[in-house]
Symmetry: C2
Subunit: 231 residues, 2 copies
């Protein structure tokens, strides 16, 4: 047939479907993307999706399987290198950077991380996709714990809950930086570019390292504004 099939023929239909699905899911989430769209973007037939993956949800899980292992391996590798740094401030920044960088870009291969996959996780997390949520928790908690432990070693005066909160904020900031980069450009009148990943990483590392070094918040008692309410 026509050109539409070249993508499928070059890389294989299965690969083309994974690629197209990852791109579309990372832009609009899981619910808003139809299997017909994915097939069309991949230059493949609608039926090839149930054929190769069984279901739409399984296609999503396949994307996770392709990325999670390499991405977390790279994280542990970079954080391991960082822990050999003697200077405490430098080590803290390097550990944080080692955790952050693979979320923006993998090493050499296209797989194993990258901003697109992180953005995908961010959106699916917000969508509340159950399958994705479970895979995320199972697959990413160990590197999160590695980060928490490493920071605990560097800053032993901090309680674990405070470190957890701050690492949680880090992940939220990371997700949001990838989901909504336009806002940075807009609010800074173009002085900063939200899609400049290098700047985002540098800013995020500096801000997070400083936040980690702060004293834990004072008293968990009395005044907590009118915000003390449970969900």
């Amino acid at each position: 047939m026509a050109m539409a099939q070249t993508a499928a023929r070059d890389t294989g239909t299965r690969e083309a479907l994974l690629e197209a699905a990852e791109e579309l899911f990372s832009q609009r989430g899981f619910n808003a993307v139809s299997v017909r769209e994915i097939a069309q973007a991949a230059g493949a037939n609608l039926g090839s999706i149930p054929y190769h993956f069984g279901s739409k949800e399984n296609l999503l899980l396949e994307i996770y399987r392709a990325h999670c292992g390499p991405m977390n391996a790279r994280r542990l590798e970079l954080m391991g290198e960082a822990e050999r740094i003697s200077d405490r401030d430098e080590r803290l920044a390097a550990v944080i950077r080692g955790w952050i960088v693979p979320a923006f870009s993998s090493g050499s291969d296209r797989r194993g991380g990258g901003a697109r996959f992180t953005r995908l996780r961010a959106i699916l997390q917000a969508e509340g996709n159950e399958a994705a949520r479970e895979v995320i928790a199972r697959t990413f908690d160990d590197t999160s714990n590695a980060l928490i432990d490493a920071i605990g070693n560097i800053l032993p005066q901090l309680s674990r809950d405070t470190i957890v909160w701050r690492c949680h904020f880090l992940l939220g900031a990371l997700y949001y930086a990838l989901i909504n980069p336009e806002r940075v450009s807009r609010l800074s009148d173009g002085a900063a570019r939200g899609d400049d990943f290098g700047a985002a990483i540098d800013q995020l590392v500096a801000a997070t390292a400083a936040a980690m070094k702060a004293d834990a918040p004072a008293a968990p008692k009395g005044r907590n504004g009118d915000g003390a309410r449970r969900q």
Copy 2:
């Protein structure tokens, strides 16, 4: 007729629909919630949604209209009070807190902010809902700019882009804390509760204030890891 709007008083049905829609949207986003679900949750008929709101999207915008004004007014009020504090560190923390608190809970009225509405914004932001994105940008940029300006006054050595980045991280952390509170409980082995809004606010204020006071990140270019890539 054209009078439909003024005559559309609180019949109960309209309010119930707004309430049910806000609850459902804040849990599962816009796409994944059907108008039939909303009607059922509100104890109303399916046809009452097109009747009262015209369309599903319009119903969403109505929710925004109910919250945006009061929430931003409260933010400006609290930040204004904060700016009268003489001590710089205290003022910085109070300004940040003034911006954060209304995102978790409004003053007296149920409307005008609150964690549920913030969570709604977070999810819709991630979903990439165009209508919501535009309203958010138009309605919230002014309070974001107020926060940025206030911080710029307290910390004049910081460039505006650095402040913008850090406020951006703040919003991402805030969103994520509301979207995924279970993760805090899980990673801390129950020592911290992600759904404790008071703790979340205290932790977020302390971390953000410390991040703001940090020096701007060093290198403008050069080494930025393997993460320097454009979206």
